[in-house]
């Protein structure tokens, strides 16, 4: 695709002091520092998971013989076995695998939107932002489904913060806190993505002459994907 556009060459990178520290604009650098602090928050949650998990006995028997009990930590492939529309079929970790794929895919569409922004290609930015928003909504819907199955529990024994049919109460507490905190981040990301999409359609960035906002929100969106990579490993795989 080829077209012409009037562009104000970006002088936005220069800070008010007249220089550009670390070759990054103020907004981009601050987004990075915010993400470092957010990384600390998520690490604290995940390391707490490690602390509490290792303060409980592990299940050491055969995987086939595993039975839920409050006296040891459950093994994830026995807890997360459901898949939508395939009721009664045992598909361990398949759904969470799909969720991982959705999030990585939406990271790809986001970085494609950023790339389109570098070329001032408004139409392509709109297209990729829409796909990214779609991916985010798919992920949130999947998580809602995952939570409802988890809370539903086994044979009328529901999971809540005090009690759950899978293992020690702390197992469900950590599941709700860690995936919930991550899900809240995804929700914020989708809202930010919608705002960016709206501004793109309204020509805000076209008039501004650059699409750096897409890049900054993109950093946040990739961070959310990054956190999920860790949640996926420590919650579902290990």
């Amino acid at each position: 695709m080829s077209a012409t556009a009037t562009v104000i060459s970006p002088s936005n990178d220069i800070w008010n002091g007249g220089v550009e520290p670390l070759n990054a604009s103020y907004g981009k650098l601050m987004m990075w520092f915010f993400l470092v602090s957010d990384a600390f928050t998520f690490s604290a949650l995940l390391i707490t998971y490690g602390l509490i998990r290792y303060s409980f006995p592990a299940y050491n028997g055969e995987v086939e013989a595993f039975a839920f009990s409050g006296s040891y930590w459950p093994i994830p492939e026995k807890v997360f076995t459901h898949f939508p529309f395939l009721h009664g079929i045992d598909l361990p970790l398949a759904f969470v695998g799909l969720m991982t794929f959705i999030l990585i895919m939406s990271s790809v569409t986001m970085v494609l939107a950023v790339e389109a922004g570098h070329r001032n290609d408004k139409f392509a930015v709109q297209k990729w932002m829409l796909w990214t928003i779609f991916g985010g909504i798919c992920f949130l819907s999947s998580q809602a489904w995952e939570w409802s199955i988890f809370i539903e529990g086994i044979d009328g024994w529901h999971a809540n913060l005090k009690d759950n049919p899978y293992g020690p109460p702390a197992f469900a507490d950590l599941f709700f806190f860690v995936t919930g905190f991550h899900g809240t981040h995804v929700l914020s990301g989708v809202v930010l993505n919608i705002l960016i999409y709206y501004n793109t359609v309204m020509g805000v960035y076209e008039r501004r002459g650059h699409y750096e906002m897409v890049e900054k929100v993109g950093l946040y969106w990739h961070f959310v994907d990054l956190v999920w990579v860790f949640v996926f490993t420590f919650f579902y795989l290990v």
């Binding site: 695709m1 080829s2 077209a3 012409t4 556009a5 009037t6 562009v7 104000i8 060459s9 002088s11 936005n12 220069i14 670390l22 070759n23 990054a24 650098l29 990075w32 520092f33 470092v36 990384a39 600390f40 690490s43 604290a44 390391i47 707490t48 490690g50 602390l51 509490i52 998990r53 303060s55 409980f56 006995p57 055969e62 995987v63 492939e77 361990p92 970790l93 794929f101 990585i104 790809v108 986001m110 970085v111 494609l112 790339e115 389109a116 570098h118 070329r119 001032n120 290609d121 392509a124 993109g218 990739h222 961070f223 994907d225 990054l226 990579v229 860790f230 490993t233 795989l237 290990v238």
Partner: protein, 119 residues
């Protein structure tokens, strides 16, 4: 322009066929396939670890290593950190290493708790 900064108004051609643009998109897709392949491999390990009788420490080491590899690709390529100024890379990566400290401290603590409660 109400901005105090100097601005040069110019006309540019929008094209997704410049060598730079093509190379960037190629990097994006290569990164995607690497992430996809690693995740698929993690699944294979998750299902083979039981039947193959892999030691727990080995499984955890594989998963943690692969997760760090994935994290590297997301941060370096998708978040573009690899191509930023060295000072920026350092101000992000150096503070993150403190997390390792917290990890070691709290896992040791978790091990101490199990000894007190269950033995």
């Amino acid at each position: 322009m109400s901005s105090s900064h100097s601005a040069i108004i110019e006309s540019v051609v929008i094209s997704d066929q410049t060598p730079e643009s093509i190379a960037q998109r190629k990097t994006i897709w290569v990164t995607f396939y690497i992430l996809l392949a690693i995740t698929a491999f993690e699944f294979v390990i998750a299902f083979l670890k039981g039947p193959m009788g892999m030691p727990k420490l080995l499984v955890i080491t594989i998963f943690v290593t692969l997760t760090l590899v994935k994290a590297f690709y997301i941060v370096a390529e998708f978040m573009h950190l690899k191509h930023e100024a060295k000072g920026l890379i350092m101000s992000i990566v150096v503070p993150i290493t403190f997390i390792v400290w917290l990890l070691v401290a709290l896992l040791t603590e978790g091990g101490a708790m199990i000894t007190r409660w269950f033995h």
